[in-house]
């Protein structure tokens, strides 16, 4: 075996308690992995959406979904992500008032998204229902699962809103604002993909 130096390298010698800082990134790693597994769930359901279209042209039977709600919904969510990102920068600069304002704006935009979802569903359900066929089943499972994620994300944002302290702390939550923002950006990204794949592509397909 190659002989290995047993001396502690110089750069490690000084990096010892009480010099060492408290680790506040574990939760962020956990959230990143949680997002990875959640994203895979959406990929699996999208796979189901395409797999059940194998061998039947659903656009001969169905109209492509309309865009007049889904695109504004996308705009609302992307705006909310932008606002939340700005808020996060304010947290880093310790401008907690501005950050709280950004958080509140994000929550309101999220609620706006849910209102638009309600309008979209009440119109869409007149022509397509989850029980219509496999297309309806996969379409509504995907969109409503995303809706559930929006609700969950909103609840977490509200929780961050009432948590009195966002500075790095010895105990959890470490970086609550950042971790929940990650989740919110993920939820928004999912909607970006759903709008493209479930709403826009069928319309392009029908024009072509």
């Amino acid at each position: 075996m190659t002989p290995v130096s047993t001396e502690i390298p110089v750069h490690r010698q000084h990096a010892r308690p009480p010099v060492l800082a408290l680790d506040d990134r574990r939760g962020t790693w956990g959230m990143a992995l949680f997002i990875a597994t959640e994203a895979t769930l959406f990929v699996m359901l999208l796979f189901s959406y395409y797999y059940t279209s194998r061998g039947n042209n659903r656009w001969q039977v169905h109209e492509a979904p309309k865009l007049h709600y889904s695109l504004p919904m996308l705009a609302v969510l992307l705006t909310s992500s932008g606002v939340l990102y700005w808020g996060e920068q304010q947290v880093k600069k310790h401008r907690y008032g501005a950050a709280r304002g950004a958080l509140l704006t994000t929550i309101l935009l999220g609620i706006g998204f849910l209102v638009l979802t309600f309008l979209e569903y009440s119109e869409h359900l007149k022509t397509l229902r989850p029980s219509t066929d496999a297309y309806g089943s996969t379409f509504y499972t995907l969109t409503s699962l995303h809706g559930a994620h929006v609700v969950f994300g909103l609840l977490m944002l509200c929780w961050v809103m009432i948590v009195p302290r966002w500075e790095p702390a010895r105990r959890t939550p470490h970086r609550p604002y950042h971790n929940v923002a990650m989740y919110w950006h993920f939820v928004d990204t999912v909607w970006l993909f759903l709008v493209i794949l479930l709403y826009i592509v069928p319309n392009i397909y029908n024009i072509a």
Binding site: M1, V4, S5, T6, I8, H11, R12, A15, R16, P17, P18, L20, A21, L22, D23, R25, R26, W29, G30, L33, F34, A36, T37, E38, T40, L41, V43, M44, L45, F47, S48, Y51, T52, R54, N56, R58, P130, S131, T132, D133, A134, Y135, G136, S137, T138, Y140, T141, L155, W159, V163, P164, R165, A169, R170, R171, T172, P173, P176
Partner: protein, 625 residues
């Protein structure tokens, strides 16, 4: 080291020995032991179900079990063994061992760790409510539609299947995330990724695999439940659904799952076998790489479960080739183990017996697996006892044998007492003979054309003698397991007292007391080589006590590649919240089976409240001393 320091650490880390203390502990050593004990209970239940099946099949036209009962029992046997024994037992060992092996004081998320255990336990409880109603799942462990869909499987059996598995999936995914962050972030200073014990490679790999494989099962369960109770048409061909969608989703999860229940077992062998060969493992880098590659390529072989459904030729050729490729990585490990023994001085003690038995059985199970990776042969053998034989050689041979090796090896660390050597060796031989007697004749039964999942057969079919042999073998195997259980219970109280490192092994868990103190090591260890206890280094030298960390529940955080300690992780106190959250999830899943939606809603709100309290900051004086 002074006893005052030890007392201070004990005050910090010990859970009170009250009922409340036991229910709210987040100590990975306690949780790991609970995982192991619970999984062994499921092993016994699943084993008894197997014995019932073998009694039914021992002679032709037996009337012990009705066809429906037989269906329920073989399904519960498969589910119990594959989902509630094979993976959780490995998780249990990993929960106990990983923090000790990396010289940390707990897992990265101790409360999540407690939650995943309770969720696992309660998911098993949920599953076993179904036999009490006489409505167990009855569609085999992989529950193919359309048979498991509403028109053909009325009653609650398949709903129990879906919801119990969803709850288990939540537990497994949470556990996997916990292992990944623990292994990548909490390793002892100096334990670079190239110096990790191989068990960490296998546990880390399957944790990553779990994160990406479990959602496929969740999606499949969700779709089936929606189809059954909520009028959707995922699998309903008359309404544009596709029955093969179930198979695609299930096996996209299912084959990676095979490696999830197999790779940590190889990791255990890579720890045990070098210790008893008295030398470092040969080809450490190749074994580590083979482990990771098995996990990766394991995502590209799932269609080999579906060769009989009529997929395209190009696709099938790809999956056939991938299935054969993956055996190369297993072969790398097998040759590394053989070379380690060859170059070492093997000491034949009972853990080594089980490890050697495992290698023999893995080779048999691997070779008859390659046989079924060949499409023309697979078409002949699909759904016969040949496949049953293959999967049991792999699951019993390559999961249960390493687990028993692990019991004989790590029992002294867990209990402070040695297991009896002679009983261990007798148990090994009885199990080994019983296993081969049970599963080898199944090859022949399969080639003779005996289909799996049948509840009886006719005397003139020529299957009588072989089935009798199989049934006798099953009881011999059960006797072998029973002998080890007797050994466990006897040695628990009467075994020889073990010192810190009875096997003179190389990895860090052996530097702690047997059984380990609640805080692990007094001075958190540092690592300079792959074999910290075999190679001299300054591990114990900490004259100024910089690595005691008794200012609170603390452990080192290190960089994921080189393991330079750059921060301290503060660990949470004991709390009852994980148990409450698991109960909340249990009620959600249980009430969904019967569509008691108000109960579901109440349980969701309860769980959300628990989650909010869980992460709520605390305000005691908490600055570091």
């Amino acid at each position: 080291m002074s006893t005052a320091v030890q007392q201070r650490l004990l005050d910090l880390w010990e859970s009170p020995k009250t009922l409340y203390g036991e229910l709210s502990t987040v100590d990975h050593k306690k949780i790991g032991k609970r995982y192991i004990a619970t999984a062994m209970v499921f092993l016994v239940i699943g084993g008894l179900e197997a014995l019932l099946m073998r009694l039914q099949l021992a002679t032709p036209q037996q009337n012990l079990l009705s066809p429906e009962m037989y269906d329920q029992i073989f399904t519960m046997h498969g589910m119990t063994m594959i989902f509630w024994y094979a993976q959780p037992i490995l998780s249990g060992f990993a929960v106990f061992l990983v923090p000790l092996m990396i010289g940390s004081r707990d897992m990265a998320f101790p409360r999540l760790n407690a939650f995943t255990y309770w969720a696992y336990l309660l998911s098993g409880v949920l599953l076993y409510i179904s036999p009490l109603l006489g409505q167990s799942p009855h569609g085999g462990w992989f529950a193919y539609v359309p048979y498991t869909n509403m028109p053909y499987s009325p009653g609650y059996g398949m709903d129990f299947y879906n919801l119990a598995l969803i709850l288990l999936t939540i537990s497994t995914t949470g556990g996997a995330i916990n292992f990944i962050v623990t292994i990548l972030r909490l390793r002892a200073p100096g334990m670079a990724i190239s110096k990790m014990p191989l068990f960490l490679y296998s546990t880390g790999t399957i944790s990553v695999v779990s994160v990406f494989a479990m959602p496929a099962l969740t999606a499949a369960n969700l779709a089936l439940e929606l189809d059954r109770r909520w009028a959707t048409h995922f699998f309903d061909v008359a309404h544009g659904g596709n029955v093969l969608l179930w198979q695609q989703l299930f096996w996209f999860f299912g084959h990676p799952w095979v490696y999830i229940v197999f790779l940590p077992a190889t990791g255990m062998i890579s720890m045990i076998l070098p210790t008893f060969s008295r030398r470092p493992i040969v080809g450490y880098v190749y074994v580590a790489m083979a482990t990771v590659l098995t996990g990766l390529v394991g995502f590209g072989v799932w269609v080999h479960h579906m060769f009989a459904v009529g997929e395209g030729h190009l696709g099938m050729s790809f999956f056939s080739a991938a299935s054969m490729t993956i055996s190369i990585f297993t072969a790398v490990q097998v040759f590394a183990w053989i070379a380690t023994m060859w170059k070492g001085r093997p000491v034949l003690m009972s853990p080594m017996y089980f490890a050697l038995g495992f290698i023999a059985l893995l080779v048999i199970g691997g070779l008859n697996g390659i046989v079924t990776a060949l499409i023309p042969v697979d078409w002949q053998l699909h759904d016969t006892y040949f496949v049953v034989s293959h999967l049991h050689y792999v699951l019993v041979g390559a999961n249960m044998f390493p687990v028993f090796a692990a019991f004989y090896y790590w029992w002294p660390k867990m209990t402070g007492r040695m297991l009896d050597e002679r009983q261990g060796k007798i148990s090994f031989w009885v199990m080994f003979i019983g296993l081969n007697l049970t599963f080898f004749p199944m090859h022949l039964l399969g080639i003779l054309g005996m289909p799996r999942r049948i509840y009886t057969y006719l005397p003139q079919m020529g299957l009588t003698t072989l089935n009798m042999i199989v049934s006798i073998g099953a009881f011999v195997l059960a006797l072998g397991v029973l002998l080890s259980f007797v050994n466990f219970f006897w040695s628990w109280k009467h075994g020889i007292i073990a010192d810190k490192n009875p096997w003179r092994a190389d990895s860090l868990e052996w530097s702690t007391e047997s059984p380990p103190e609640p805080y692990g090591s007094v001075h958190l260890p540092t690592v300079a080589t792959r074999h910290p206890l075999w190679d001299d280094h300054d591990e114990e030298e900490d004259p100024t006590g910089e690595r005691i960390l008794d200012q609170g529940r603390l452990t080192f955080t290190s960089t994921w590649l080189d393991a330079d300690a750059f921060a301290l992780s503060s660990m949470p106190e004991d709390t009852i919240l994980p148990l409450l959250l698991a109960i909340g999830f249990f009620v959600i899943c249980g009430a969904l089976i019967f569509q008691w939606m108000w109960v579901v809603l109440a349980a969701i709100l309860f769980s959300l409240a628990i989650g909010a309290i869980w992460l709520w900051p605390k305000y005691e004086s908490e600055e570091l001393a």
